[in-house]
């Protein structure tokens, strides 16, 4: 089919506007139909699960598709929509979510809601008294397996005494129950649950989650796996006053603020638990970026090096790539293809592999570079050398791409220009500088800017090569080769506690910085004008 239309496109097209529109129309109807059918199919499930967000997205997409493809208007949108949909849902939406996160204190110790934290604190304070009883557990129900009500049938592992337990308390085991090998296996009138069923029903949100049998003022029996254990809970939470009281000592803990979060703390400043809870903090994280002395002290220096690193990486890779492209762009040269193939190899190796291999090259005593050169230089030991090492490695990784791009751009320079220039008697270099280079630069400028943006946030290049080092003991947070993203990554996720809300704020700032810098460069390279 494609052959007939391809071999003679004009005639097929001329065949009449009426007939040629049938196929696209059919495909269009079919495509929209399938998507709409899908949306209809998933709707009941989404409604049942109360997933309103997903529902809205699904039907929104259907509506958009209908609006764009079922009508003859908005032709550009027909081309843009698929990609823009993906971009909006998977890039723009996460960016907005990141911004939302940046206004919270989300991170280590604050991942849970206050309610969950309170429950966790109570649960993790429960302990076994010296004489605590342990039971082998069986679970039965008089109702249905899925809905209960449930009864725990317990056999004391020390004494062999057997009980029935509900959330009202312990009672004696019904006399007609069967006990085999220290476990209740059958109780008339009850359906006994299998281990699988117990496991499923005990999950978060399941009916057996938090099933407790009270046995005293502070003591309860709870399940642990397929056993049950008597635990004593020393903490009482008073919802009205928002306080914890330790019944053993009478100490009262109230929430007290520390930094961006609160802890339950007693009057002497001792914390009940290292757990806090998530809260909205407004723009505090942004304020902190500009006021925290640890950050503001290093920010300018790191920012400067980040720019140098990004510009340097782009300039060096482009220069080397261009020089090689010019040198090898000589059709009379034998083995041109072989050179090109080999020069592209570094690009073919996945980046993280190259970085890890290169990081071992720089070792003072055992590294390849010192071995080959016969030197004894600690490449990663001083800031200046480590920075050169980072640039050298990035050059190796990046020049093949630029070589590729520059080769293409060079060949796109119209040959008439070259001939005209040589007739005018311009020397090779003058000609290159005045005619070829500007032409090449214009055509690759957007790529250079994109490459700058990529290197500005090239986390891998720093993290896998130097981890930001070398560091000095007086300032162990800012390393000599740290760029903004590696520095903030360490602040947020590094060895110390994770501060995701704070890191999100930095991500947003980085995003803005990258955008502004890129926009400035675009103006500089007049690409903006080219857009029009």
């Amino acid at each position: 089919m494609s052959h007939t239309t391809q071999s003679d496109p004009p005639r097929a097209v001329r065949g009449g506007a009426g007939t040629t529109r049938v196929l696209p129309l059919l495909a269009r109807v079919l495509g929209i139909g399938i998507i709409a059918a899908l949306a209809v199919m998933v709707t009941p499930a989404l409604v049942a699960q109360e997933r309103w967000g997903f529902l809205a997205v699904f039907w929104g997409v259907v509506a958009l598709l209908l609006a764009v493809y079922a009508t003859k208007r908005a032709v550009p949108a027909k081309y843009l929509l698929p990609g823009v949909l993906f971009l909006s849902l998977l890039v723009v939406y996460p960016i907005l979510m990141t911004f939302q996160l940046s206004t919270t204190n989300y991170g280590d110790g604050t991942r849970t809601s206050k309610e969950v934290t309170v429950n966790k604190i109570i649960a993790s304070a429960a302990f076994q008294e010296a004489n605590a009883r342990r039971f082998t557990l069986a679970v039965g129900t008089e109702g249905t397996v899925d809905a209960g009500p449930y009864t725990f049938f317990l056999v004391d592992q020390a004494t062999g005494d057997a009980f029935a337990g509900t959330e009202d308390g312990l009672t004696d085991l019904p006399a007609d129950a069967t006990v085999t090998d220290g476990a209740v296996t059958e109780v008339p009138g009850y359906t006994m649950l299998t281990k699988q069923q117990i496991n499923t029903l005990s999950n978060t949100g399941g009916p057996l989650e938090g099933f407790t049998i009270p046995t005293g003022d502070n003591t309860v029996i709870v399940a642990q796996g397929f056993q049950a254990i008597e635990l004593t809970s020393p903490l009482v939470y008073d919802q009205a006053n928002d306080t914890f009281t330790d019944t053993r000592t009478g100490t009262v803990y109230t929430p007290q603020r520390s930094g961006d979060r609160s802890y339950f703390t007693d009057s002497e400043g001792n914390r009940l638990s290292s757990q806090s809870w998530g809260e909205s903090v407004g723009f505090d994280n942004y304020k902190r970026i500009f006021t925290d002395p640890r950050i503001s002290k290093n920010f300018l220096g790191i920012f400067a090096w980040t720019v140098v690193f990004a510009v340097g990486s782009v300039a060096l890779t482009f220069l080397l790539g261009l020089v090689l492209a010019v040198v090898l762009n000589e059709s009379r040269m034998r083995g041109q293809k072989v050179y090109r193939s080999i020069l592209l190899l570094p690009y073919a190796i996945p980046g993280f592999i190259s970085l890890m291999v290169w990081s071992s090259f720089y070792n003072t005593d055992f590294g390849l570079i010192n071995n080959l050169l016969g030197t004894h230089v600690n490449w990663l030991g001083s800031t200046a050398l480590a920075r050169s090492a980072v640039l050298l490695t990035n050059l190796w990784m990046g020049f093949p791409y630029m070589f590729l791009v520059a080769t293409g751009a060079l060949q796109a320079v119209p040959s008439e220009l070259k001939e005209a220039a040589s007739i005018d008697g311009a020397s090779g270099f003058t000609h290159f500088r005045k005619i070829t280079f500007p032409l090449v630069l214009v055509s690759v400028a957007p790529l250079l800017v994109a490459s700058f943006a990529f290197n500005f946030n090239n986390f891998n290049a720093i993290q896998l090569l130097t981890e930001g080092g070398p560091f000095s003991a007086s300032d162990p947070t800012a390393g000599g080769t740290d760029i903004l993203i590696s520095y903030t990554y360490r602040l947020a996720f590094g060895t110390s506690a994770q501060q995701i809300g704070f890191a999100s704020a930095i991500s947003v700032i980085l995003f803005i910085l990258t955008g502004v810098l890129a926009a400035i460069q675009f103006r500089g390279t007049r690409v903006l004008e080219d857009v029009n």
Partner: protein
């Protein structure tokens, strides 16, 4: 025809969505059993294109090095209880676990080092483990101390690790050194003779290594955190810039690149073991994880192993003791099986023996430890070293120590002023602890 590309995309999307709908009813193939070594035919690979997240009855997360051992005990438990298990090696296990557990996407059981506990508890990510006193007694007291946090038992320890001194028999002879100075002297002699390239390997690297330097630091008089009356670490008592700490820093400086050049930044965690295993270092400080490589490189009888001795005339060297343990995830999908797996499946002599063999760690269960003392004297040495050591602090404040202290060590080794470097690090750590 020209519409085909888009039509195809829709069709592919539709089939994937349909697969999603049907996946709930079919039992997923056990991911652990279908190894990819068989060359899948094209039709098979098409169905494999969208594997479904494992819905095993028990999901365990560990790192790559412990994967095989976990698989073995999990398979045994699965068989006995007629359930399915999935064991997964996860990059950056601890951080991935906290995030995934929070999102309800994590495993049921986590396996990892005991010093994770502080951060895990802070995030409410693991549940206390209620073992009977008798069950707890079956384990070495130091291991139990390591997995106890805020007076609650949080993990079931299966292995202990501690640094020890490895020496190459053919280089320094079959001697047990009484002091670290003796070992260094013997190594230095070999170095001068050109037999080896390093007298004593202690990983430093460009950014320092506070873990491996700890035995040297403690022997020379330093300490990290003081302890309160109950034996818990006190984050307010930082000992780095105490008189002892500064003296220890000076001692480390004297062994550094501007001193006797025993300690060097070119030796790091990346090459420490391989240099020794290839016979290029006379002695090395490392742990049980090095044994396989050392035996492969130097032969089963080519090396000596002993607890790290102290410096001559100074205190004993006290490395960190570490325990590897099982934890119950607080937000797992199969809590009952997870609790039962740890309390009854792993907590047996058989399982602990399997773990010891496959994870290649000195066991934490005393019965297993006693039974292997004859066959595996190396593990007896490391277990003994671990027993006399202090557990690595699991308190959240410890997270603020590694980086600054490591950097200070790297600086001192490079020849910077030891007192200033150590004081700088101590100040940075105090600021960080106060800010958290």
């Amino acid at each position: 025809m020209r519409r085909i590309p888009r039509g195809l995309a829709v069709a592919v999307g539709a089939s994937l969505l349909l697969a999603a709908c049907s996946s709930g009813t079919t039992t997923p193939a056990e991911s652990s059993t279908d190894s990819a070594t068989d060359s899948a035919s094209p039709s098979e690979s098409a169905t494999d294109a969208a594997p479904v997240r494992g819905n095993e009855d028990l999901v365990i997360w560990t790192d790559d090095t412990h994967l095989a051992a976990m698989q073995a005990v999990a398979d045994t438990y699965a068989k006995a209880n007629n359930i399915t298990v999935g064991v997964q090696a996860v990059t950056d296990t601890r951080a991935a676990f906290i995030t995934a557990n929070q999102a309800g996407n994590g495993p049921d059981v986590l396996v990892g080092a005991h010093d994770w506990i502080g951060q895990l508890v802070q995030n409410g990510a693991i549940d206390p483990l209620q073992l009977s006193p008798d069950q707890v007694k079956a384990y070495s007291p130091t291991a139990v101390r390591a997995v106890t946090y805020d007076s609650q038992l949080y993990g079931l320890p299966y292995g202990v690790e501690s640094l020890a001194l490895f020496c190459n028999k053919s280089v320094v002879g079959d001697t047990k050194f009484a002091t670290l100075d003796d070992a260094i002297a013997a190594g230095q002699k070999a170095l001068d003779a050109g037999t080896v390239e390093s007298a004593l390997n202690v990983p430093v690297g460009e950014n320092g290594d506070a873990y491996h330097m700890e035995p040297l630091f403690t022997s020379a008089g330093g300490y990290l955190f003081g302890k309160d009356a109950d034996g818990n670490y006190n984050p307010d008592d930082l000992g780095l810039d105490s008189a002892g700490g500064l003296a220890a820093a000076a001692k480390i400086g004297s062994l550094g690149e501007k001193g006797s050049n025993v300690l060097r930044r070119s030796i790091s965690g990346d090459n420490n073991i391989s240099l020794f295993a290839e016979g290029k270092a006379a002695c090395m400080i490392s742990g049980p994880w090095a044994l396989n490589d050392v035996r492969a490189g130097l032969g089963d009888d080519g090396y000596t192993l002993q607890p790290i001795p102290g410096f001559a005339g100074m205190g004993p060297a006290q490395p960190f003791m570490g325990a590897q343990a099982f934890y119950v995830a607080s937000n797992g999908k199969n809590k009952a099986f997870a609790q039962d797996f740890i309390a009854n499946g792993v907590n047996t002599v058989d399982s602990m023996t399997t773990l010891y063999k496959m994870a290649n760690l000195p066991p934490a269960m005393t019965a297993v430890r006693d039974s292997i003392a004859q066959d595996n004297p190396d593990f007896a040495v490391i277990a003994a070293a671990a027993e006399s050591a202090d557990p690595m602090p699991a308190i959240p404040a410890m997270a603020e120590v590694w980086q600054p202290l490591g950097v200070a060590y790297a600086d001192i080794v490079s020849g910077a002023d030891p007192t200033k470097s150590m004081q700088d690090a101590a100040n940075a750590i105090r600021t960080a602890i106060a800010g958290s």
